[in-house]
Structure formats: C-alpha cells, structure tokens
Symmetry: C2
C-alpha cells in the first residue's frame, strides 16, 4: 500500500486538517505537507465567540491538535505561518512564503489540496478600517477583541449582521456586560431562516435587552470625539459604539485558485466535482472556499459549515489515494444557541425554494411541547416543515425553542438524507419517557400534520392569503381565549359546540378555521368537511399568526 506521493495541503483548520489526518491513515508512505498561513492549525473556530465571552476561559482550549502532535502521530510536515502565494500548475509546484523569514521557496507536489477557507466580508465603506471595527475568524482576532474591550472598557457594541456569528457574538458581548445593537439590512435576524421563523428569535433578543436595528444598511463608520465609533446607516441612524463587530458573511478565499486559472463558480467559490477535484486533475479543494451542491435544490451553493468541510477533507483524501469517494452535497443543517433559545434548520428554506422557482411544495407549522406536557418544564417549540406535493418528500425544516430543538432537526436531517417523506416522520419511533419526548414526538406530529394535508384530510390555507380571502373565519377556541384576542371578523364557535351549531354556517362560502395551535381546528375541519362544508385550517393556529407568541 505504500506510495511515495507528495501531497501539499494549503490551510490547516477544518477541511485541511481532516484531509491531512485521513491521508496519513490511508497512505503511510506519502509525504504530506500542511501549510497554514496563520499561527495555529486545527483550532476551534466555532468556539471563538465563546472565547470572547469568557465561556471558554483559556485560549489553549481552542487548540485541538498541535503541530507537534500532527508531526509525532501523523508524520505530517506542518508549517505554520507559511502562505502559498502561487501555483505553478505546469510544474506542479507551489510557491510558498515563509512568514518568519519573509523568504519564498518552491515545493513540488503530486496532489495539491486547497483548504483556504473563507474571509469575513469587509465592504469598502467609509471608515471600515478604523480601529475598533473587528471581524472574527481567527484566534488572534478574538484575542484582539477581548483586549480592545478590556483596554477601552467598552460598554456599547454594534454588531453588523444578525446571522449565526453575529448573534453568537451578541450573546457573548452581552455576557461581558456590553449593551449591543444588532444592525442588519434584512428585516429579520438569522437570514437562513424564513422570516416568520425568526420572529421568536427577535423577541428573545429584545427580552435580553438587545436593540435590533433591522431593514437598514450600514453606510459608513466614523470616529467620534470620545475615541468611540459612530455607525451610520442608509436610514439616517447614527449608532454610537465602543466596538463594532462585522459579521455580514464570508467570501471564499479564491485568490490563489483564480490566479492559477482554476475554474471558479458563479457564486465565487472554487468549482469541484463530486470527489472534490478542481478543474486541474492534480488539485483538490475543500471547505468554505468551494461551491457545493445543495442536497435538496441540486443547485450550487456556498455553505460554510464545519461538518461538511470535514467530510470534504476526507473525500479528497480518499480520492487522492484512489478510493471511490463522493461528496453527497450539503443539506445546510445548522444550529445556533442564543440566550437559552435554540434555532436550528436543515434542508431548503421556503425563500430558497421560491428563489429557485419551486412551487410544488407545502408548508405546515406546529408548536408542540419539547417533552410530555405533564412533566414539569415543558416548553413549546415552533416547527416549520416544508415538503413536496404530492409525494411528501421532506425538503426542509426549521425550528426554535428552548430545548430539544436540535434533536428534532437532526432526526429530520437524517430522514431528509435518506429521501424520507412526511409519512416516514409520521411513523418514526423515537425515544419516549416524559422528560425526553412524547408518545407522539414533535417529529411524529410534524409528519402527521403534513400527511393530513397531503391526504386531503386537512386542507390547509397559508396565513399569507388571509388578507385577501373571502372565507368566513371561525375561531374554535373557548370564549375566554377568543375574548383575549382574535382575528378581525372571526366568529367564535368552540369546538365542543360545533356539531350543535352547524346550521349557523353558510354552505356557499369557504370556512377557514383556526384555534391556538392547530389541534382543535384540525378536528373542527374534519367535522365540517364530513358534513359537506368547504373548510380549511390556518396552519399552526393563532400562535403562528402572532409570530409564535405563545
């Protein structure tokens, strides 16, 4: 099995480090060089916000595998502070700059793996380079942020960008005692989620005294007289801050690949085939720098996630060693914890489907408890399930809540991976004891509700059509619930009275039924439909209408 192949890997974090270790396990005879521009390999970049917040107290905790361990255990030639500056594809040589000496040298390869990652976006706005404006990518970045906060006794922060890293940084800055304003050009936080699913996240942020400044873009930064910063927005706002965090996304690092003439995709990532091979058969690329196929939409996308990067590193190593390996694409499974709330998703969002012109799908909402309601501490979670019509294939799921959210998304992610349908969710068999779940787990319920729609047992109407509907709205909650709040024009007929009051209802008009969460309205619709009425439900009930406000 021994070979004498020489493999150079550019980038020593997730995908690069995984690739290096896997290569060694497969090929004891290869010469493996791992180049890393920064001072560390294999560090925990997903932990950086928590290091800023002091949850992870020690910088050393972020170092997962040391260069020395790579050398000793894996016989890998690790060179930190070495940057690849050019690829000589014809000669199969890499030009490397030694950061310590400033000197350049050439290193030949049989196979080259590019794992350069993605760089935080820093748009060329006025003042963007002022001191106190930080991005977060590396350990030194996070160290500088900590030092700046300490040295300036920072009290106020503006976080530009309200997605995963922005919100994780927000939580950690609040943890350090800073007052935080989140600015985002979108009218919602957590951009990968559909807008309505972000509502409870925004409410949670506000409950934790985070100011939200949404639907407004940053136009520039200025230094103020106190030595602080002013963030200016298109909407005319001036937000003062002692520190600004830029978290508006990342951009694949493709300078090296582009200069070498490798194919770059339309989204700006390195283009690779299923074995992670670039347009040059001797060069592979993995991680945040590449474009990948989305498992649901089949489209190219950029998906900077650690899990897929690791898998890609392994696939590239397998391919280099002549094994039959294939990257199956990304699902976009992701999770974020914010002030005790969990936000998670897998698959395609509704907005992504719309963007790609997909129309043959259905959506249901539900608000089940994370475990048996009779066991103390049960809290509602909010789930949106998206599935194809008429097959019921799972296309995506999003959920928020306080506990058990990541579990349900993970189960649905596995079902999606296996081309599962909502009918599979309906009959899945999951752990049940009262502190862990329910006899009908939230995943079962999601499947049941969706299957009811597909089987025609529960015609569902979207909330978006509510403004323009001619239907008669029927609120089947109890009178005390109706009295507290209800939809304009709705008639209150509690479910228990419905059979006795059918004569009051028009047979020539559509009936749209709702309750609190969609459970009673389902039974009501079943009654109405069987008695010959045209009836449907508003999915997920009044809780959905109110932005998942229980």
């Amino acid at each position: 099995m021994e070979t004498n192949r020489k493999v150079i890997i550019v980038g020593g974090v997730a995908g690069g480090a995984s690739c290096a270790a896997r290569l060694r396990r497969l090929d004891e005879g290869a010469a493996i060089v791992l180049l890393e521009r920064g001072p560390y390999v294999s560090f925990a970049n997903c932990g950086l916000p928590y290091y800023v917040g002091g949850v992870i107290p020690d910088e050393d905790d972020l170092l997962m595998v040391s260069p020395d361990l790579f050398r000793r255990r894996f016989n890998i030639d690790v060179r930190v502070l070495h940057e690849a500056t050019a690829i000589d594809r014809r000669r199969r040589e890499l030009v490397v700059r030694d950061g310590a000496t400033g000197g350049e040298y050439r290193e030949g390869y049989d196979a080259l793996v590019l794992a350069p990652g993605a760089a935080p976006l820093r748009p060329p706005l006025p003042g963007i380079d002022l001191p106190g404006i930080f991005s977060l990518r590396t350990i030194p970045d996070s160290r500088e942020i900590r030092e700046w906060i300490a040295a300036r006794r920072a009290r106020k922060a503006v976080v530009v960008g309200g997605s995963y890293i922005g919100l994780e940084m927000t939580e950690n800055l609040v943890r350090r005692g800073l007052a935080v304003t989140v600015v985002d050009v979108l009218p919602q936080v957590m951009a990968p989620l559909d807008g309505e699913m972000a509502e409870p996240v925004m409410r949670c942020l506000e409950e934790n005294r985070v100011d939200l400044h949404l639907g407004d873009g940053v136009t520039g930064f200025e230094a103020d007289a106190r030595g602080g910063l002013v963030v200016r927005t298109a909407g005319g706002a001036s937000l003062t801050a002692d520190i600004v965090i830029l978290a508006i996304g990342v951009k694949p690092e493709v300078a090296l690949a582009r200069a070498a003439g490798l194919e770059i995709g339309e989204l700006g990532g390195i283009r690779v085939d299923e074995s992670m091979r670039t347009s040059d058969p001797a060069i592979w690329a993995v991680g945040d720098a590449v474009e990948v196929r989305h498992a649901v939409t089949g489209r190219w996308c950029l998906m900077p996630l650690a899990g897929p990067a690791n898998r890609q590193g392994r696939v590239a190593a397998d391919a280099i060693c002549g094994r039959n390996a294939r990257f199956r694409g990304v699902q976009g499974t992701a999770v974020c914890g914010i002030f005790g709330m969990t936000v998670a998703m897998t698959g395609a969002s509704e907005k992504v489907l719309k963007q790609h012109g997909v129309r043959d799908y259905e959506v249901v909402y539900l608000h089940p408890y994370q475990h048996a309601s009779y066991y103390p501490g049960a809290k509602r979670m909010h789930i949106k399930l998206i599935f194809s019509r008429p097959e019921g294939r799972i296309l995506g799921a999003q959920a928020t809540g306080e506990g058990g959210v990541d579990k349900r998304i993970d189960v649905i992610a596995m079902a999606l991976q296996k081309n599962g349908t909502v009918f599979d969710l309906e009959e899945c068999e999951l752990c049940y004891a009262p502190q862990f779940g329910s006899a009908k787990d939230p995943v079962n319920l999601a499947g049941m509700v969706a299957a009811n729609v597909l089987r025609g047992d529960m015609p569902a109407a979207g909330w978006s059509g509510l403004a323009s509907t001619d239907a008669l709205l029927i609120d089947v909650r109890e009178p005390f619930e109706f009295a507290a709040d209800h939809l304009d024009g709705a008639v209150n007929i509690p479910l228990g009275d419905l059979r006795d009051r059918l004569a009051e209802l028009p047979r020539d008009r559509e009936l749209l039924v709702y309750c609190a969460i969609g459970e009673r309205s389902y039974t009501a619709v079943r009654i109405l439909v069987q008695h010959g009425f045209r009836a449907g439900t508003l999915s997920g009930g009044y809780v959905t209408y109110c932005g998942f406000n229980p």
Copy 2:
C-alpha cells in the same frame, strides 16, 4: 363520508384513546363507545413514577384528556368503570359489566377494538399478596404507594426488577428519601441493554447509594415483627423493607380475547395482521396486549411502548374506516433517565441477535463527547453500534451518558427505519455548534468507526476473545497512562514513537492494539497494517474494557 358503523373500543389509555380520536376524525357518522375498566381514560401512565416521586406534584397533571372532553370534542361515548367481560363474536356483541351498578349489559358492534394493555407480573410467590407490595400501572396504584410511604414513614424500599420502570421508581423513591435496594435475577440492570452497556448504569446507581442485589431471584416475602417486610432470595439473602415495588415486567391482558377464541401468539399476546386485525375480521387489537413484528429481526415480540401503541391505534382506526394502513413493526426505541444519566436504545441488542442465531453482524464501541470537547461541560457518552456484515445495515444502537444520548439514538432510529447503513451515518449532516455537538458528531463517528471495520481499514477484535488470544498486546497510550493501569502482558509503545520502533515488533504474530478510547489505536493499526504487520484494535479502547469507566 358518513357511516352508521358502531365501534366499541375496550381500553381508554394510549392505543385505545388514540384509536377513538382518530376514528372520529375519519368518520363523523360512526357511533363510538370507549370502555375503560378503571376510573380514568387517557392518563399519563409513563408519568406515574414521577408522580410517586413528587416531580409531578398534582394527580390532575396526569389526566391528559377527560371523559367530558372526549364527549364534547369527539362525540365519543366514554364509559369509565365499565369492563368488557365477554365477546359474543357470532352476534357481534360485547358483554359489559358496569362497575358502578354491578349490572351487566350487551352492546352490539360492527367493529371492536381491544386495547386492554398489559398487567404487571405478580408471580405466585409466598407472601406476594402481603400489604406493602405494590405494582405500578394505574393512578390509583401510584396514589396507594404515595399514601403507604407517608402513612408508614417508609425508609427502606426493595424494588424487584431493574429495568425501565424499576429504575424510574428507584430514582423517585430515592428522591423521596428512601434507601433502595434493587433486586434482579439477571446479573445486570436494564435488561434490554447488552450487559456491558449496563455497566455505567450500575455504577451510576451505586454512586447514588442504591444497593444492587443482582443475579439472584426473589423466592418470597414475609411480614416482620415491626410491621415491615422481608424479601427472601434464592441466594439466601433477607432484605428488609418498608415497601416493595414489583417491576419485573408485564403480561398482555388476553383473557377476554382468549375466551373469545381469538388467536393468541406463542409469546402470549394477541396475534394481529399488519392492519392490527385479529383472527376475527370484525375485531382489531392494539397496544401492549398484542404481539408485533420486530422491524430488525422480523420476529414476533412483545414491546409494551407508548409510541407504537399510539401508532397502532391510528392504524386500526384507518383500517376500520377502509383506509389502506399498515403497522410497520417496532424498533424497540426506548429511553430511561436515572439520576441524571440517560440510557437509550433502538433496534436489536446483541443478545437478541444471538438468541435468534444471527451471526453476520459486527459491533463497535465508542466514547465520544456529547458536544465539542473545548466547550465547557463536555462529558463522554458510550455508544454501541451493531450492524450487518458486509452490507453495514444498522441493526441496533445503545447509548448511555449525561446529555445528548436520546438525540443520537433518535437519529440512528430514523436511519434504521429507512434501512440506513453505517455509511449513511458516516456522512450524515447534523446540527453543530460547540454546545450542541461536534463537527464530527458522535453519530458520524459511530458510522466512521463501523465503516472502517467493514472496509477492512481497521480490523477489530472483540474484547470477549481477549482471554484466549495469542496476540501481542500493544498499548499505544502515553507512558503515564500505561503506568496508571494497563492490560496484563501489554507492551507500551506510545503512538508517537510507533514508526521508530517497528523493528521491535514480531512479524509472525498478531498484534492487538489498544489505547484509551480507540482513536490512537486506529491510527496505530493503520501504520502497522501498511508496514505489513497483522494488526487489529480492541474496539473502544481501555475505557470499554473497564466497563466504560472514563
């Protein structure tokens, strides 16, 4: 859609109540009678131990749906304290005793659903009927246990049977301040688990000052002079107690079905087809009283679980209404929480496979952290994955740990349901942020380790063969780890030194390599195999050998 069919359901808890509600949703015109022998329908039987322990403070919390709500919302004729005493199959009539009046009457049916559940086993041992010996099935049972403990100021309990209910009762009795001894005829607790997986559970019980008296059967009970009880065992032990809980399992309630001549299976449960129909085409049966097909082994089994009971109730309702419905069998997914530890499993255990003569399977152990090790609070879980050889089809998984255990078993349960393989687990895409998981989630790792075995990359040896092996044992941990403890006869060559010390190793002898958890030994075996040695690993490392003692 309206019919005039009359359906009687015998038993109003999980399967029966689900069946009734589903029937009504499908058939507004049916007459539905729900008979329940006890005083309550649809109560939370899985919550009973927690009501005994006071975690669920109020008895009313256990009542999920009242008879009145069944009547008002579902137009179901609920009759509590009504017991079916005979089935007149020829006339399609049920004989019912009204517990309140003592009178009997006949009720005709078009379709009959039997959901009588299972009764706690009470073997005819001397003294079994003494006061203070309780089983736990109903709300009155749990109320009596609470009252007995309070009235007798009970200090010591013996729990006979160390499986789910026995251990949940143990935890809750300890919570109430009782000293508990668990007696089981098996040498392990939690009988559905393979023995080695129960080791950490037993350790956890002992750490919580529960006495374990295992591998010894109870032979009888006596009253002692103080008004307490003495539990006698075959091994000669006499255990004193103020209260005894019998939790040695349950037996399907088939008296009614048997007397009516319905087919009973070899395991003593009512025999049904895939639509839950009994040998009488007008009679269905669901829940703990029926035998079901095991989804992995294909064998009939008894599996008293709430989730499958609910699904069966729905299937029976669908079938009665002429829908094409099929119960896909049970996987045996189950979970138990004990003193902060979670124990969960899905699919077949190794002992069940052996019992059925299955031999073409492999087993791996792993001990991953439940989330990123660099994030505070990371604890190891212990996973056993069983899969077919050579296909890698998932046959079963068992896990214990402090957090995230139910999540991983649920994900594997979904993969198993979809006929997934270990290769699917290897490349599944799950939620990752450092407080929720790892870039290589425990499920990924389980898949990778298993796939390594199947691909021949990591020949694995079972620990059971250790006593008889001629192989040279190599411990690749660091010297300080080796010094603390190691296998007899093992040679210590730290992984980092292995390449330089290959000359010390024999080429004519098998090498069995281990480390702490199997990670370093995997790399070591890759090195050795590629250098021409015959080498394998001991799966899961020294932690596995030591009963998952980290």
